[in-house]
């Protein structure tokens, strides 16, 4: 394990997609056991950051380091090793529609480990229960589940290898309030138990206040500020002010602000 405490580093990352500069120099650092959120208005390129880290998009310039290694220079074996160390939750769940939920969750174990079938099944079921799905969901196909349950199943699949790094794209979107709250608690307890590092893209103000250590505000292709939420909401930057000073922003700030000493 690398001695460095930094899990993800983005160094002056720029990307142009279809002739348009989405990122114009992103700098971001995520440390071990940190929960960092990326916020910004729609279309600011939040998901693009995740896709770059995940090697689904190649930045036009700049470097991305994950676990201390430049991902663009990794050999195929290194990429595979890296892919085993992270879990990903996509915005649209991206469960395999031809497999049942249980088979979906067990999929990474089946592909990457030599465990026997029984153990794989048991571990997958444990994960399924751990994310709060009922056992009856195990035999259902993704098309038979509700949106919130899909999110949970996808989270279980992301967690099945007990990864060190979790990348989440709008995890609480489409969950009911209880579900979203339970999800936030789940993130915190996962970090406590497994020592996870979590990078998430979200619009959920409750999640921001409740779980994150740092919040990176993305605007015009750059990270305007990356600081704890309590500090970020006090920022004088106009773009950040408009984002957090709407009615919803003020309510959550009043609600959580006291505990954060504002």
């Amino acid at each position: 394990m690398p001695a460095s405490n930094v899990v993800i580093t983005l160094n002056n990352v720029k990307i142009s997609i279809a002739g348009q500069w989405i990122h114009q120099g992103i700098n971001l650092e995520v440390k071990r056991r940190e929960i960092v959120a990326i916020v910004g208005s729609s279309g600011a390129g939040k998901s693009t950051i995740l896709r770059e880290i995940l090697l689904l998009l190649v930045p036009t310039s700049g470097t991305i380091e994950v676990f201390g290694k430049d991902v663009s220079k990794l050999p195929p074996s290194g990429v595979l090793a890296l892919q085993r160390r992270w879990g990903v939750l996509f915005q649209q769940s991206a469960l395999f529609t031809s497999l049942t939920v249980l088979e979906n969750i067990a999929f990474p174990l089946r592909e990457h480990t030599a465990l026997d079938k029984k153990t794989i099944r048991e571990l997958a079921l444990l994960k399924l229960l751990a994310v709060g799905l009922p056992i009856t969901a195990a035999i259902k196909y993704p098309s038979e589940l509700s949106g919130g349950m899909l999110k949970r199943a996808a989270l279980a699949r992301a967690l099945i290898m007990d990864p060190e790094l979790l990348l989440l794209d709008e995890p609480t979107t489409g969950l009911d309030p209880q579900g979203a709250e339970a999800f936030d608690d789940l993130l915190l307890s996962l970090r406590a138990i497994l020592g996870l590092t979590i990078l998430l893209v979200t619009h959920d103000l409750d999640t921001l206040w409740h779980t994150t250590d740092n919040v990176a505000f993305l605007s015009a292709g750059r990270v305007l500020e990356c600081s704890p939420i309590a500090q970020l909401t006090q920022s004088t930057e106009p773009a950040i002010r408009t984002y957090f000073q709407g009615p919803r922003g003020r309510i959550t700030q009043q609600l959580y602000g006291k505990t954060h000493g504002i």
């Binding site: 394990m1 090793a81 529609t97 031809s98 049942t100 480990t113 465990l115 026997d116 153990t119 048991e122 571990l123 079921l125 444990l126 994960k127 229960l129 751990a130 056992i135 009856t136 195990a138 035999i139 196909y141 993704p142 098309s143 038979e144 290898m161 007990d162 307890s189 406590a192 138990i193 497994l194 020592g195």
Partner: protein, 379 residues
């Protein structure tokens, strides 16, 4: 990542506490070697202690896999009648164990998906098939009714959608259809020419070729080609729209998917396929013409002069007349199967296969029926 393997060991015999077990290493996916650990377990299980203390303070890492292994083993020991105490386990790892304990009971209640076997399966398939036939008839019926209302209010026809269907299924297929027909013309001429040459009846190649291509080959092959090319596209398009709830969205907006999506496809293909058939006729004959010239040494002029004399116009019309029927078969089956897609990528694939197979099957059935019909009518 360097890992030290997970293990359990009894301390050496001269130890002060002989009942104390030492767990150490990485109890993780990477750190557990099932064989080694099982050997460790078996050794300890065999001793049948009545009292054991598990010292877990030397466990360096643990994940769900490790916790589950430990939990199962502890369970096994206590069922043997061993009284276990776990000590020194890191608080975080303990949380993993507690999580597992909480959920383990539910593991037993995994329900099974209902599966049909033997006679029940046969019955289910039969009923499903009958229901599909019924649904298909309904689908066609609704299409007919909608088409009739469209005749009364022709302004409701989606003209741009219709044109784009003709463009995609007709215009875009011109190249491949031309090439295919040309080659068929060559192949037919070659085989028939060989036989006719033996009898010194080479000139009759023109009669044979004209009839074969205009009546059978051009309409049939064009239809099969289009079923594979456009029928599958219809099914996949509509299927994906179904999966993405786009069709539901249309319904809620008061736009009838039938008018916007299905009728333009049916009308469009019914216009495009006869045109493609004429196109295939031309290139089939051209292929035959070229081959006749080079193999049987009949001049282009002779060929073209004899052609209208020996090939009746009815052959051409019959061939083209089949095309709209084939087009209706292809477009109706393709749209029907597209709308039967349910929720998964798998289903899109399955229905697309069904669509193409059924289209081609029914095209050939229809062609056979045409032959019987024409022979009784002596056309």
């Amino acid at each position: 990542m360097p890992t030290n393997l997970a293990s359990v060991s009894l301390p050496s015999s001269n130890d002060t506490q002989p009942d104390k077990l030492l767990c150490q290493g990485d109890w993780t996916l990477a750190g557990i070697n099932s064989k080694i650990l099982k050997k460790n377990f078996d050794k300890i299980n065999r001793l049948k202690h009545s009292l054991l203390t598990l010292d877990a303070s030397a466990i360096t890492a643990m994940d769900t896999r490790g916790a589950w292994q430990l939990y199962q083993w502890m369970n096994q020991l206590s069922q043997q009648g061993t009284q276990l105490t776990l000590q020194g386990l890191n608080q975080e790892y303990n949380a993993l164990l507690i999580d597992i304990q909480k959920n383990v009971e539910a593991l037993e209640n995994l329900p099974k998906r209902q599966e049909y076997k033997g006679l029940a399966l046969l019955g289910k398939k039969t009923v499903d098939q009958l229901l599909e036939v019924q649904a298909f008839l309904q689908f066609i019926g609704k299409n007919v009714v909608s088409s009739l209302t469209l005749l009364l209010k022709p302004k409701r026809l989606r003209f741009s959608a219709l044109v784009s269907v003709i463009q995609n299924t007709g215009f875009a297929a011109l190249g491949i259809i031309a090439l295919l027909s040309f080659m068929i013309g060559i192949v037919l001429t070659y085989h028939m020419g060989l036989q006719l040459k033996n009898y010194g009846a080479s000139l009759f190649i023109i009669d044979l070729l004209g009839l074969a291509i205009l009546r059978e080959f051009a309409p049939l092959l064009t239809a099969i080609m289009v079923a594979g090319r456009s029928g599958s596209a219809f099914t996949a398009q509509l299927g994906m729209m179904k999966v993405k709830e786009e069709i539901d969205a249309l319904n809620t907006m008061g736009v009838l998917p039938r008018q916007l999506l299905i009728l333009p496809r049916i009308f469009g293909l019914t216009i495009a396929l006869p045109l493609l058939t004429i196109w295939a006729d031309i290139f089939g004959i051209l292929g035959g013409l070229a081959m006749t010239h080079s193999m049987l040494h009949i001049s282009y002029f002779d060929f073209l002069r004899r052609f209208p004399k020996v090939v009746p116009l009815s052959s051409l019309l019959i061939g083209i007349g089949k095309a709209p029927v084939f087009a209706l078969i292809i477009s109706n089956i393709a749209c029907f199967q597209g709308l039967r897609v349910k929720g998964s990528a798998d289903s899109v694939g399955k229905q697309t296969t069904r669509s193409v197979v059924q289209s081609i099957f029914f095209i050939i059935v229809a062609d056979a029926l045409f032959s019987i019909l024409f022979s009784t009518l002596a056309l």
